[in-house]
């Protein structure tokens, strides 16, 4: 087990180097001069522009820029944004917010999605199952910004149950509404996934055996059906966590969440290499860790899966 984890961690190093190089190159290759954009519609003073290019190392060839960036990483320097802020500070401000949002969202997905999916699967073809399927179809087909605007208007502006936007503190309570919006689409998928998996498992021999041993229905559902049905759902949730981290741009914009998506989007538009690469790198690292945890979770859920010596 320990050897397996060590091997996975070591594998992360080339992935890390590869992604930073690739992303840095993509930002470098982006057409347009970010320094010119800094001047807005006003005249560009060429001498000042040259000074600024020098300051942000933009006058260097690509590989030198990249090495300067990577060199900085080793001493904990992630570079600075055009507003003069260390990128490390921006990371420290935005990631906790987005991770809170993603975790809250994941929690809703698990409770509502798995719950409804399990009941649906156990009562296949009944009215509950049918209405759950129709509801999930509706949520899958609605674009997320529609859901976001409707929820914001209805729950925040009309009913006043929550603030329409998130304040600077972005605490758990304020993030509930955006988290529910973010969760809606995935909940629909999880309902369907769980339902199919439960139906599948319920037909297995070991379930029949468990019943014939005289176990209670509740215990059979909990220990034998649900647990064995969760593997595909857990896989989906792990992937979804990554998507929630990077793909929340639209929702973060609508609810003004000071998180990763919005900051990254602005950094891309402004061509701020160090900011973009640092954000993507941290995302990649989180993704790798989540993937590792998922793989370990498989073993916990299904005793047949073991990670070798």
């Amino acid at each position: 087990m320990f050897g397996y984890i060590l091997r996975r961690v070591l594998q992360a190093i080339p992935v890390f180097l590869g992604t930073t190089l690739l992303i840095y190159f993509m930002v470098f290759a982006m057409p347009g001069d970010p320094i010119v954009a800094l001047f807005g519609d006003k005249g560009v003073n060429p001498a000042v522009a040259d000074q600024l290019r020098h300051q942000y190392h933009l006058d260097q060839p690509f590989i030198v820029q990249y090495l300067i960036y990577i060199g900085g990483l080793f001493v904990g320097d992630f570079g600075t944004s055009f507003s003069g802020q260390p990128v490390a500070n921006i990371l420290a401000q935005t990631f906790p917010v987005t991770i809170r949002l993603a975790m809250l969202s994941l929690l809703f997905e698990m409770i509502v999605g798995i719950g409804i999916g399990l009941v649906s699967g156990l009562r296949k073809g009944k009215w509950f199952d049918n209405s759950a399927l129709v509801m999930s179809l509706i949520f899958i087909s609605l674009p997320i910004f529609v859901i976001a605007f409707v929820f914001q208007f209805f729950f925040a502006i009309k009913l006043g149950w929550a603030r329409p936007t998130v304040s600077g503190a972005a605490n758990w309570g304020e993030l509930i509404l955006p988290a529910i919006v973010l969760a809606t689409v995935s909940i629909a998928y999880i309902i369907r996934l769980t339902r199919a998996s439960v139906i599948d498992t319920a037909d297995q021999d070991f379930v029949r055996t468990a019943y014939s041993k005289g176990l209670s229905r509740g215990r059979v559902v909990r220990v034998h059906i649900l647990r064995n049905s969760l593997i595909p759902v857990v896989t989906f949730l792990a992937v979804d966590f990554g998507v929630l981290l990077v793909g929340a741009t639209v929702t973060e914009g609508i609810f003004n969440v000071p998180g990763v998506g919005r900051t990254l989007y602005q950094a891309i538009i402004r061509g701020e290499g160090p900011t973009v690469v640092s954000f993507v790198t941290v995302m990649v690292l989180i993704y790798l860790v989540v993937n590792l945890l998922t793989d370990l979770l498989y073993a916990a859920l299904d005793p047949r899966i073991r990670y070798g010596k």
């Binding site: 982006m30 057409p31 347009g32 001069d33 970010p34 010119v36 954009a37 800094l38 001047f39 807005g40 519609d41 006003k42 005249g43 560009v44 003073n45 060429p46 001498a47 000042v48 000074q51 600024l52 300051q55 055009f82 507003s83 003069g84 802020q85 921006i90 809250l104 929690l107 698990m110 409770i111 914001q152 208007f153 925040a156 502006i157 006043g160 603030r163 329409p164 936007t165 600077g168 605490n171 758990w172 309570g173 304020e174 509930i176 909990r222 220990v223 649900l226 647990r227 973060e252 914009g253 609508i254 609810f255 003004n256 000071p258 919005r262 900051t263 602005q266 538009i269 402004r270 061509g271």
Partner: protein
């Protein structure tokens, strides 16, 4: 058993979340603080390095310069006692004594001169450096000090300009001309995070600028000037989108909103009733057809530009695309500026006239037959697609030529192509005034070799009229020359005027006395909390 534990844990987490929710439902309740929307400053908060509205809004609140602009855009002395000149070249500036920065340092003539010297020096790479190019000693090639600045006494300094400027006092309200305390020069970097000013407001505390979130300003009790705040402070919230800010306004979570999202343009007057604001702002929109494009030079080019301008129905477009939230252009400046005139000779080329447009186009075809297609480039990240498509469509329908929009994905890409003159199509141009003068809409754009002359326009007569205007004894006299220059511009259309910007906005039920200034920015110090 393990599953039971997982279930119990989930319930526990859910309960915690519910508790946090109820615990945090309160909050707010700030005494007499006005909340308003802004955007994250793109640069450190340094007067000579801030050239965009996000940072500008903050600097104008925490600094007092020599003059400030009232709601109509007229300059009013703030720190200045007098600004005088006999020849428009040598200016004598006397300042009021007894003003202090919020760290206790006295504001003297040195505070101004040192700030301007710093801003002008090329080695300091300040984005507003071009602002000092009118002062003697400025160079775009070498990092040289401004020799035109001389400190006479702690309350008096003189400025020698490189050329006459009749509107020099008018320029001095722009944030680039604010004074800076000694603390700035000791450590510009950390100063940019926690600026120290002498204005109506000051930062609430060290670290009041919470990046990408908001900035908290409180009333500066020692500010002796005329912009005394009628409220206790400002919380400028940085919104990612206007939609989010508008939602907050509707829920009374935001007091003053400048700007209405496109999605609410149709409904905001109904939503807000008498809390909706709509008024002119010093913003001018146009598109530029450079002379170097094939078929657009000399007489042929002038004919074609006029034909294109006349084939656009501006009022109809504004209604269809912007719900009437623009004003059709009548000249090259802005109606909120003193000296603006809607009937400069030649301005009829801005009126839709299909027959005349076709006729002019046919005349141009006699010089050289038209070939190819006409395109207007724009940045796709700025909401320009709608009007560009509509404009090119009207040109297509009126003149019967192939016309379309040419999008660039980002503003940076678009401006790079425009400023390095590689762009092979017409392109959108816009100007937001730095200071309320006709000259500011004309000189930086149409003077030969000027900084924002993206179309590389050059006309000796226009340059001569600008010079005459700058040497004039009074602003009224100067404006006559600038209007004459516009008469020439109407013939050659170095930019095709489209419309003037309008500020729309609104305010919450919790505040009153909300008005917007000449530049479309709310006059926050006058806002009163009920």
């Amino acid at each position: 058993m393990r599953n039971v534990k997982i279930g119990a844990a989930l319930v526990a987490v859910a309960a915690t979340v519910a508790l946090t929710l109820t615990g945090c439902a309160g909050g707010g309740g700030n005494d007499n603080i006005i909340t308003t929307n802004g955007s994250e400053p793109q640069n450190p908060l340094v007067t000579t390095n801030t050239n965009e509205t996000g940072g500008g809004l903050i600097l104008d609140s925490i600094y007092a310069g020599l003059v400030y602009y009232d709601a109509k855009g007229a300059p009013v002395n703030d720190m200045a006692e007098s600004i005088t000149s006999t020849d428009n070249i040598n200016w004598d500036i006397k300042i009021k004594s007894g003003w202090k920065f919020t760290n206790g340092e006295e504001v003297t003539a040195d505070s101004y001169v040192n700030a301007w010297q710093y801003g002008a020096l090329l080695d300091n790479a300040q984005l507003n450096s071009y602002y000092f190019d009118i002062i003697e000693g400025f160079s775009y090639d070498k990092s040289t000090p401004l020799t035109g600045l001389t400190v006479v006494s702690p309350t008096e300094f003189t400025v020698k300009l490189a050329a006459p400027q009749s509107d020099f006092p008018l320029r001095l309200g722009y944030s680039g001309f604010y004074p800076l305390p000694k603390a700035f020069f000791d450590d510009p970097k950390s100063f940019g995070e926690n600026p120290i000013g002498n204005g109506p407001y000051m930062l609430a505390e060290k670290g009041a600028w919470k990046h990408n979130v908001d900035i908290n300003l409180v009333k500066n009790p020692d500010y002796p000037g005329a912009r005394k705040p009628l409220n206790g402070g400002l919380d400028i919230v940085f919104y990612a989108t206007l939609e989010a800010a508008y939602a907050d306004l509707q829920a009374d979570n935001l007091d003053v909103l400048a700007g209405i999202p496109d999605s609410a343009l149709k409904t905001y007057k109904q939503d807000l009733g008498d809390r909706a604001v709509q008024q002119g702002a010093a913003v001018f929109q146009s598109f530029t057809i450079p002379e170097r494009l094939a078929h657009f030079s000399g007489d042929e080019g002038n004919l074609r530009r006029q034909a294109i301008s006349m084939s656009i129905n501006r009022p109809e477009l504004i209604q269809a695309i912007f719900n009437g939230t623009r004003q059709p252009a009548k000249d090259f400046t802005s109606p909120v500026i003193a000296g603006w005139s809607p009937d400069i000779p030649g301005s009829d080329v801005l009126t839709f006239n299909a027959a005349k447009a076709k006729e002019l186009w046919a005349q141009a075809n006699k010089i050289s037959p038209w070939s190819g297609s006409f395109q207007i480039a724009y940045n796709a990240d700025g909401g320009h697609q709608g009007w560009v498509d509509a404009v090119t469509n009207q040109i297509k329908n009126t003149l019967g030529i192939d016309a379309s929009g040419a999008p660039y994905p980002t503003f940076g890409e678009f401006r790079t192509a425009v400023t390095d003159k590689t762009i092979a199509t017409a392109f959108r141009t816009g100007w937001q005034a730095d200071y309320p003068a006709l000259a500011n809409f004309l000189e930086p754009i149409y003077q030969t070799g000027a900084g924002a002359n993206d179309g590389q326009y050059s006309n000796a007569d226009v340059d001569a009229l600008f010079l005459k205007g700058n040497s004039a004894k009074s602003l009224d006299e100067a404006n006559k020359f600038f209007q004459q220059a516009q008469e020439i511009l109407f013939k050659e259309l170095p930019a095709v005027p489209m419309w003037y910007g309008i500020t729309d906005g609104g305010f919450s039920t919790k505040v009153s006395n909300v008005a917007f200034g000449w530049n479309g920015v709310p006059i926050l110090y006058n806002v009163v909390k009920k």
